[in-house]
């Protein structure tokens, strides 16, 4: 749609699409930028059964209450960010903010669209974990961090949310839009010894 023609992801200026390959070959690290999406920061009383119940009926699945985990519905996912804070991710056009506004009306909550405030970098491949280990103090060993887990942490100097999607392993790295390029360069540089391939997001 015309709309998307005007909209730019944080890394659009890097022209990643043109550099993307579908034959990564020997590369130990695959990197991509995910397309724009709705990222709704949801705030509410995570200790209130009632709130969680209403939220559940509103989005069709339960918000994660176990710290640093992800729950998933048909067309959106919810990442635990704090005892009273979640990040809901859905494709553009889902209109999550409106849905939540209707569903939670009358309750103490805040649903704020932050999709434009973020960039999501995809990092996967046999050495993805090694690259993250260079910058991030989390223990990403499968025993302690696997698919369905997320964590807010520090990548080098960058505040980031890391979510693991599968056992490839594939990770999603959420960072502020303004530091997306620094983050990309950092990961590219850290991955260079394993070989980096850019793939479609």
């Amino acid at each position: 749609m015309a709309d998307s023609y005007f909209r730019q992801t944080a890394l659009a200026p890097l022209g990643l699409a043109a550099k993307a390959t579908d034959a990564p070959g020997e590369a130990g690290v695959l990197m991509s930028e995910h397309p724009l999406a709705e990222h709704v920061n949801l705030r509410g009383d995570g200790a209130s059964v009632e709130f969680l119940q209403v939220a559940r009926t509103t989005i069709g699945y339960a918000l994660p209450t176990e710290p640093n985990t992800v729950t998933e519905g048909t067309n959106s996912r919810a990442l635990w960010l704090g005892p009273h804070e979640w990040l809901l991710v859905a494709p553009l056009g889902t209109a999550l903010v409106a849905t939540l506004g209707r569903g939670l009306a009358g309750r103490a909550f805040a649903a704020t669209e932050l999709g434009d405030a973020r960039a999501v970098i995809g990092l996967s491949g046999p050495n993805a974990r090694d690259v993250l280990a260079k910058s991030c103090p989390l223990d990403l060993n499968p025993k302690s961090f696997g698919p369905g887990r997320c964590a807010q942490t520090k990548l080098s100097r960058i505040a980031a949310i890391i979510a693991q999607r599968d056992d490839a392993p594939s990770y999603e790295i959420y960072v502020a839009r303004s530091v997306a390029r620094y983050t990309w360069r950092w990961l590219e540089d850290a991955g260079s010894e394993y070989g980096v391939a850019i793939v479609a997001g």
Partner: protein
């Protein structure tokens, strides 16, 4: 390099946190009623304990929650962390004697 047990996220590296200094210093209900000296006590004066110290920590790169920690300022041992509003645990030091304490 401390390993700090965030009451929400569990053990995380020191670099994810910020220290907020001495804990359990409530803001006076009616500052206007205080003398300059009393106000300075709240504003500036600190226990600065050597040994067990109750202090505020913020998981700034994580869940962004403030919490309290009972930490030994000599050994850096963290005896306990607890959520805001919870009453501070009484901690026995290595010698078994309860040191410090909260105000």
């Amino acid at each position: 390099m401390l390993l700090i047990n965030c009451p929400w996220c569990g053990p995380r590296d020191e670099i994810e946190f910020t220290c907020g200094g001495e804990a359990h210093i409530a803001r006076p209900a009616d500052p206007a009623a205080l003398s300059d000296q009393e106000w300075a006590e709240y504003l500036f004066m600190r226990k600065n304990l050597k040994g067990l110290h109750y202090e505020r920590w913020h998981h700034s790169y994580g869940c962004r929650q403030w919490f309290n920690a009972a930490r030994d300022t000599v050994t850096h041992e963290i005896h306990a962390t607890y959520k805001m509003g919870e009453t501070p645990p009484v901690v026995a030091g290595e010698d078994g004697v309860v040191k410090g304490g909260n105000s």
